[in-house]
């Protein structure tokens, strides 16, 4: 190893020369050109080919999901191929002779090859991700779906093209209640009888009978805890809602006023308009309204009839000025489940939001589909200054039949979502996650190429990939209790691989974008630390060690 600043610059010089050469080499390969063309064609056609659930939000989500998955798969496969190829082919064709005969340490060669593939992958990722982002913005504009209604547009803005975080309700400690109930059953002697009954069902298997019994107890408890009977209500308390939203006010211009429909069309200054969302609150001259559409810099605002009669609104006229205030919003997401069948599977409900410790209150009527996730956007003033809010579900009769019914909402199915950043920055964080994945794959590829011929190297890397992309499934699937004899080794293989290899399943950016959830910088940092700084460095270190000890002029068989 070299020492001192000149040594470092010499070492970096050799490394960057190899990296530069690698980029040129890869760019002149037909497979890279073909991949770029195919990726471009598929991505370009995708927004027009997909329809999702028929809504603009669904279409946007499907596009983001499919395009990010395709980007990830295509670039991963290309990175693996290239990284194995550039090293193994150099050795096979003996072009390595001319390189290693120069003042270039073998570790510099390996790192240079890795860096070159990474630079190329990063370039391709940047171009492809920019394409996906541009197409997503095109979808968002509604140009492909002019039929989208205002609610759909609200959903697109508040649920897809955003970066939110999630807060669940305060815990009700179900586990503790299950343990108490089991203890009580054992005390009263009910447990042994119940276990016998379940053993009869499982053919004498006691472990399975125990699992079934506990599941039954859980079902009973959650049924009681989370069921909302007719005319009853259920309250959840949320804490730590740091929506960081502040009202922003600016001078806008009135374009049109339509008293009949209680609508106003205004132009707001960019700093204000950037914070307005479809369906979100807006105050005009301190009178509250709701944003209906935002198109061509013109915001359509709907107001209550009585508010239209207020002097502050009455005096507004076309080309006049108006004070526009953008209010921050939060969202409630939940999934309600009916305890019995209804004719149209609709659930009618009333939700009450209270800023904890204040008298501020908001009531929102809803009609949702049974067992379907629902989201409502509400002004952020329902959150107290210390980040707390209380949400209550008030049972209501069916809006058409007048029938009452029991509804169940599990604690994991209800959450407050609030915006913590923009979609653009979130997309960038997603691209960083993908790049970490590609950097790791390039390292593994270079490692494989350092001691294997190209086809065998590919086989090795692609046989390892399932542990990274489907690790959770494999860990769940390989249950040691059901593995006969020597097959128990597969359990250990899956777990060791799970520890050694990164989990691409959890770091895939697509699902985050689909849910409009913010990828926290901390998560990005942790992923980069483990995937790049630790696992990638480890793979490269092993690759350097193997390559250092390799006799490059030895004929490969």
């Amino acid at each position: 190893m070299m020492a001192g600043p000149s040594g470092v610059s010499t070492a970096l010089g050799g490394l960057t020369s190899v990296a530069r050469h690698t980029v040129v080499q890869c760019l002149r390969m037909k497979v890279v050109g073909a991949t770029i063309v195919i990726l471009g064609l598929l991505l370009g056609a995708m927004p027009f080919a997909i329809s999702g659930d028929g809504t603009l939000a669904g279409r946007s989500k499907t596009f983001l999901s499919y395009s990010m998955a395709m980007l990830s798969v295509v670039l991963s496969v290309l990175t693996v191929f290239l990284s194995i190829w550039v090293v193994s082919e150099d050795i096979r064709t003996r072009q390595i002779y001319g390189v290693i005969a120069k003042p270039l340490a073998r570790w510099q060669y390996i790192l240079g090859r890795w860096l070159g593939v990474c630079i190329l992958s990063a370039g391709l990722l940047a171009v492809a991700a920019a394409g996906v982002f541009a197409l997503a913005q095109y979808l968002r504009s509604g140009a492909i779906s002019p039929e989208a209604n205002p609610q759909d547009r609200v959903a697109v803005e508040t649920q897809v093209f955003t970066a939110r975080t999630r807060v669940g309700p305060a815990s009700e400690n179900v586990q503790e209640k299950i343990a108490d109930r089991i203890a009580e059953m054992q005390r009263t002697g009910q447990y042994a009888d119940a276990l016998e009954a379940f053993k009869a069902r499982t053919g004498g298997d006691e472990a399975e009978a125990q699992e079934l019994l506990i599941a039954e107890v859980r079902e009973n408890i959650t049924g009681k805890l989370f069921a909302i009977k007719p005319r009853e209500s259920k309250t959840w308390r949320f804490e730590g809602i740091d929506h960081r939203g502040r009202s922003v006010t600016g001078a806008g211009r009135v374009i049109r006023v339509d008293n009949e429909s209680s609508r106003l069309w205004i132009q707001a200054p960019p700093a204000v308009q950037g914070r307005l969302v479809y369906g979100g609150p807006v105050r005009l001259n301190d009178v509250e309204g709701t944003v209906i559409t935002i198109r061509d810099d013109v915001v359509e605002v709907s107001m209550m009839l009585e508010d239209m009669l207020k002097p502050a609104i009455q005096r507004l006229a076309a080309d006049g000025s108006v004070s526009v205030t953008a209010e921050p919003t939060i969202q409630l997401t939940y999934k309600a489940e009916l305890s019995q069948r209804t004719s149209d599977r609709q659930i009618t409900s009333l939700w009450r939001f209270e800023a904890t410790g204040t008298a501020a209150q908001l009531l929102v009527p809803r009609h949702d589909l049974n067992r379907s996730p629902a989201t409502m956007t509400i002004p952020a003033w329902v959150v107290s200054d210390d980040g707390r809010t209380t949400v209550t579900f008030l049972s209501q009769p069916h809006r058409r039949t007048g029938e009452w019914y029991t509804v169940r909402i599990l604690p994991e199915d209800v959450a407050i979502l609030f915006r913590v950043g923009s979609f653009g920055w979130n997309f960038l964080r997603g691209a960083v996650l993908l790049m970490a994945q590609l950097a790791y794959l390039a390292a593994v590829g270079v490692l494989a190429g350092s001691f294997l011929v190209f086809p065998v190297g590919c086989m090795l890397v692609f046989s390892l990939l399932p542990f990274s992309v489907a690790g959770t499934f494999l860990r769940d699937a390989v249950n040691p209790e059901f593995l006969p004899g020597p097959l128990i080794v597969s359990y250990y293989i899956v777990h060791v691989m799970g520890a050694l290899l990164p989990d691409f399943e959890s770091t895939a950016p697509g699902p985050w974008f689909v849910d409009g959830m913010a990828i926290p910088w901390r998560f990005v940092g942790k992923t980069v630390l483990w995937t790049v700084l630790i696992r990638t460095s480890l793979a490269l270190a092993v690759g350097c060690m193997i390559f250092r000890r390799r006799e490059l002029a030895r004929v490969q068989t």
Partner: protein, 402 residues
């Protein structure tokens, strides 16, 4: 010969055994090879195919690791990266990147030597000119003929002006022009004190350029020594002169008989096919006939001849012109190449030959000097001088004084 730290290459008991997957011995490629190569020497590794020449070179370059024994290049292990800055290597086959053109190829290798951009450009221009590929510098390597690839391979081996040049079958695939140029180049580099290790089974090439050779067979060293020592037929003397008539031949026979010598062979020497070929090509190029292949190479690159790049010289000249003190060494003109013992011997032999010719026949033009006579030609000529004097019937010392 004892190995010292002054040797450029030293191998001690160098052995390479190739084993199969089960570690069973498959072949012993090199066995107990002891070599010491001195600075400025042109050393030839000779042997038939599979004799271990390339394996030896690969061990010297760290591409293979010895099974036993030791290798030192410039006193350092073969795997030491720092010594590679002083080494140039032309492999047996030209393993270049087919997707690069000649200029890009040389640029890549020059970058690995951390050469600054202006130096890279200048050297690449000079080397392309030297190997006759300037006109096809932007063609991809995969469009080159084998000989053209060989030329660019040679250029990459010289990009760093190496102190040690390792050439594995350097003339393989080259036309006679290229072969001649390679041999000339080796002579020039040796004249600058560079060390050249040459592996070949083309005996004529080795004989032309090498000071010492080692003959390998079955991985073992069979003979090692100076070319003239190994090839000398001490029992015979050969004289070349202009055509003699029968009477003169009879006189010579008588003179030899008087000295108890026997005339074994009288023949008219033929021109070498290489000379004929070079003459034809030179004539064609003088007429500017069209060719899509390599041209005859240009002059040897300045930095290889003088050890200095053009810009370095230019800077010194400018500094002299403006009266500044030259920072390195005063150079009014490029420093003369460092005379090697071989080159000095050439000059001595040349002087003697000219004076002898002048003495023999003032009207006869002096014969063209061999481009690179054997280093010990002087000694050989002195030995032959006695017989020559006898033939001419005079005393050399007397003629010299007259």
């Amino acid at each position: 010969m004892h190995a010292t730290h002054d040797h450029v290459i030293v191998t001690v008991g160098l052995t390479k055994v190739f084993r199969d997957f089960w570690l069973r011995e498959k072949v012993s490629a090199v066995a107990d090879l002891d070599l010491q190569i001195e600075p400025g020497e042109v050393f030839g590794l000779l042997g038939p195919n599979g004799s271990g020449k390339t394996t030896t070179l690969n061990m010297l370059l760290g591409l293979l690791f010895p099974t036993r024994g030791r290798v030192a290049i410039f006193g350092r292990p073969a795997t030491d990266v720092s010594i590679k800055a002083r080494v140039g290597f032309l492999p047996e086959e030209t393993y270049l990147y087919p997707f690069l053109d000649a200029r890009e190829t040389l640029d890549y290798y020059a970058r690995l030597f951390h050469q600054p951009r202006h130096q890279r450009r200048r050297r690449i221009d000079m080397l392309l000119e030297m190997v006759g590929l300037s006109s096809v510098a932007y063609r991809r390597i995969n469009e080159y003929s084998k000989g053209m690839q060989r030329r660019i391979g040679l250029a990459q081996a010289l990009i760093n002006d190496p102190d040690l040049l390792i050439l594995d079958e350097p003339t393989s695939g080259m036309d006679p022009i290229g072969t001649r140029e390679v041999k000339d180049l080796i002579g020039i580099l040796a004249g600058r004190g560079k060390t050249v290790l040459l592996s070949s089974h083309l005996l004529a090439d080795v004989e032309d350029v090498c000071d010492r050779v080692c003959v390998l067979y079955g991985g073992r060293q069979r003979a090692v020594g100076r070319i003239d020592e190994l090839l000398a037929r001490e029992a015979h003397t050969q004289i070349t002169t202009d055509r003699l008539d029968d009477a003169t031949l009879a006189k010579i026979r008588d003179v030899l008989a008087a000295g108890s010598h026997e005339l074994l062979d009288v023949s008219t020497p033929r021109d070498k096919l290489e000379s004929l070929f070079l003459r034809i090509v030179e004539e064609a190029q003088a007429k500017r006939l069209v060719t899509g292949g390599a041209m005859a190479g240009g002059p040897v690159a300045e930095f290889l001849r003088t050890g200095q790049d053009d810009d370095q010289q230019g800077r010194l000249v400018i500094e002299q012109l403006v009266g500044a003190e030259p920072p390195v060494e005063p150079v009014a003109e490029p420093p003369p190449p460092m005379p090697s013992p071989a080159a000095q011997a050439d000059e001595d032999v040349l002087d003697e030959l000219i004076s002898a010719d002048e003495r023999a026949d003032k009207d006869t033009p002096p014969p063209p000097a061999d481009r690179r006579p054997a280093p010990s030609a002087k000694k050989q000529d002195q030995a032959d001088q006695g017989v020559l004097d006898d033939l001419l019937g005079g005393d050399r010392s007397e003629e010299s004084s007259s």
